[in-house]
Symmetry: C3
Subunit: 199 residues, 3 copies
């Protein structure tokens, strides 16, 4: 019962599962610089909402949902039942587990890892370059890691390479400069421990 | 003298006032999950700029303006002379008074209330879920309230349920964790009082 | 070898250099309020990615690149080899030097100045109105100045009129309320000096 809108652009070498919906003004399977024909897989039941752009070479599981005007670059591995909210950006070489939810207007740079059930709130910004524009910076990118079931509150910023432990909670507006232990609650700029998750 | 671009998609059951302009690549009246035919009203003089998406069931007053690529979900009540800037998102069940201005890239979640003349700066993020993903969280959402003529500075974050008092001013980049009294000026993370508005 | 997509809208009085690519669902040369026929120049080698909107009256150098869904208002002067990332917004009367990079989801308001090699990270927000909505505010806008080779980290906020000195580095998530000296490293809310750039 899926459908592909007449205005949507689907490039060659895109493999769609059953019941995939692609709404108006979307572009799926965009060739990237150096593209050598890598296929794009999007599993059954996906709903790609309007004005979304997905590059080639992604491997995306079942039940994928995007909001509107989402941007997903190339060569990511994305699990089942993942949702990426309106205006969010996922760059390339990102690893996303199952049942991850990225809310609206978030930014997930290259080499980030979001484990199963991780949750990013609206406007969350992950970073991966300690010294932007330094010579060789592209060889030293460190994506943050958000472990299983951790939650990162709205408009929080994660510094490069930071690890947010399993079940941890990062308060809204925090700037996370150090690793966050499992189940810790942190908040502030810079973020400091303020409690522990009990559930 | 309004006009509807040839590429714009206008769904059934959308009622437009006089002189409404809908630019290219917009989608207006998008049916939502559980949609039972609720109409969408957009008052006279509206300008809906390109790539904007507005769901069904909204009741929007006269003189409505959107920037480009705005996203408005369903069942909101929006007053007269409201402007929502480029890339901003208004979720569902939001109440917006008259002459409210939401600047660019802002996020306004479900159950938020913005009273007359409220002003949200660019990238302002309101939140409504204290414990994201907790069981039953959707029954306990608390939208912030921004009272009459209050201003929330750029990139500020409001925690769930926070009330920003009338005429108050929230400094840019603040993280507001408690209610802000009428006419207070607050700033910082967490935001603290730094003065009073005298005008 | 450039190309203009069939779905792109290019308004009259747009002058394109050689090898310019304009992707699907873009709109280039949008007339602004009070437009008196000012031309739009985009230099050779530009790549304007999908869903991008560029208003009339811009003078843009060679090698211009946009991400997807970028928004550039009218009457800006933009140098050579400038890149503006996905979802970023540049308002009007902005001056941008050569080799400037604006990353994703950034906001650059009216009267901002970005000198050569300046770098803005993802979600960086510049501001220009000290007292939003005050009478006469539009006559007193003060855009920030980001000097040569300065870098502003992800999700940082610059207050109106702030000057970030040459080669300086603003830490991610900072709220910059005062001028930043040349080569200084600042961080926090409000941002304070934490070191000096040595390279």
């Amino acid at each position: 019962m899926g459908s592909i809108a007449a205005t949507a652009v689907v490039h060659p070498n895109v493999s769609l599962g059953e019941d995939v919906t692609i709404e108006d003004f979307c572009i799926v399977g965009v060739p990237f610089q150096g593209w050598a024909g890598e296929a794009t897989f999007i599993g059954s039941g996906a709903v790609i909402r309007s004005h979304t752009v997905i590059y080639a070479g992604n491997r995306i599981g079942r039940g994928f949902q995007t909001g509107h005007k989402v941007n997903v670059r190339e060569l990511n591995v994305i699990g089942d039942d993942v949702s990426i909210g309106t205006h969010s950006i996922v760059e390339h070489h990102v690893t996303i587990g199952n049942r991850v939810r990225i809310h609206s207007q978030a930014f997930v740079p290259e080499f980030s890892v979001l484990e199963d059930e991780a949750w990013l709130g609206p406007n969350v910004v992950l970073t991966n370059a300690r010294y932007p524009r330094e010579p060789g910076v592209k060889d030293r990118l460190e994506g943050p890691v958000v472990r299983r079931n951790a939650k990162v509150g709205a408009n929080a910023t994660l510094l490069p390479g930071v690890v947010v432990g399993a079940d941890a909670l990062v308060g809204a507006g925090s700037v996370v400069t150090r690793d966050v232990p499992e189940r810790a609650i942190v908040a502030g700029n810079p973020a400091r421990p303020i409690g522990t998750v009990h559930y």
